[in-house]
Symmetry: C2
Subunit: 206 residues, 2 copies
């Protein structure tokens, strides 16, 4: 019945893409040895950057760990369950938000002169805006990384303060998530897909 | 130069889809009179629901306002600038997070027996988890709504407490965003696209 409904749905993208981005995409635990290249990262960002944010604030920042040395700097802040995934993945992105996003606003949101100065005094408000919009951007980035063919394992089990001190001490960015990424052969996981909530369980249509 | 780089990128989706979901998609202000149907909403959710969340918590909830009466209930909580968009759009989704998501966990995350009971006592922690993951899901939902051909205007200028009292008094959901949606002819906005940050401004590759 579900398949019939999905087949009847007015998708504006092709079925293979709907599968790749959403329907058959899985949070994987195994990757091939193929590298995550600069071109992968650039292509993914060149999609994700266009996702809408409030006042075009674009507060998402990230560091990409590919070398063993770089990964080792992250591993010490992870619980046991997440370490093997970072060790196995060709790359891990550590996502963070930048409460200093307002410094870019004269360029990013020129339609509102003075917005940088208006936001500057309220660090707490900026931190909230940055976290909110960076999380939405994390959703875009996950879809964008899949759009360049990567298979992902998003995780948020980590010592955020430790990670911030390790990677973001100078910038003041605050981490909230990591995404292990690489290429897979087959499904990339042995776990069956978990259930999802149906539309009428999450939405009311008035 | 940018176009050359994008053309050279290893996209796993076709260019028309990359445009529709990200590159030429815009936050619009004008829609046609065509309805946003139940089939649009079902098809979009049947994509977005598969986006990964921490422990498969799926805390995003939403109400869809299509009738004039339903829209009128929202309009009173909006600043002047956002009212015309909700009035013009065939549908507006009000997104919220459900701190009571743990009640679904025995079904959604059966691999962790007892997680419902473990989460139950800490309302504040659940509220934070719900908001974090619902925001990531908002990113998925925006891409999914575009995947069924809809053009969107995400907005967060609203009286959240007022909206919660109006729509979520019984459920206890907490609103964080709205998305006006419909079909467009042409770009759907007269505003030029705002600039974006480049990869080397947001990411460090180690």
């Amino acid at each position: 019945m579900t398949e019939t409904l999905e087949a009847a749905a007015p998708l504006a993208i092709d079925d293979a893409t709907a599968d790749r981005l959403f329907r058959t995409a899985r949070s994987v635990t195994e990757w091939t040895d193929a590298e995550v290249t600069d071109a992968h990262l650039r292509a993914a960002w060149d999609l994700a950057k266009f996702g809408p944010t409030a006042m075009n604030t674009l507060p998402l920042r990230f560091v990409v760990l590919r070398s063993d040395d770089a990964k080792a700097r992250l591993l010490r802040y992870l619980p046991d369950g997440n370490r093997p995934k970072v060790e196995a993945a060709p790359a891990t992105l550590v996502l963070a938000h930048d409460a200093g996003f307002h410094e870019h606003m004269p360029r990013l949101f020129p339609v509102y002169p003075g917005i940088r100065e208006q936001l500057a005094p309220d660090t707490e408000a900026r931190d909230g805006m940055a976290r909110t919009n960076a999380l939405i951007q994390a959703g875009y980035l996950i879809v964008a990384l899949r759009s360049v063919g990567l298979s992902l394992r998003p995780m948020n089990g980590m010592d955020f303060d430790g990670v911030d001190a390790e990677f973001f001490a100078d910038s003041g960015y605050r981490s909230f998530m990591m995404i292990a990424a690489g290429l897979t052969e087959g499904e990339g996981t042995e776990h069956p897909r978990l259930p999802r909530l149906a539309l009428d369980e999450v939405a009311q249509i008035l």
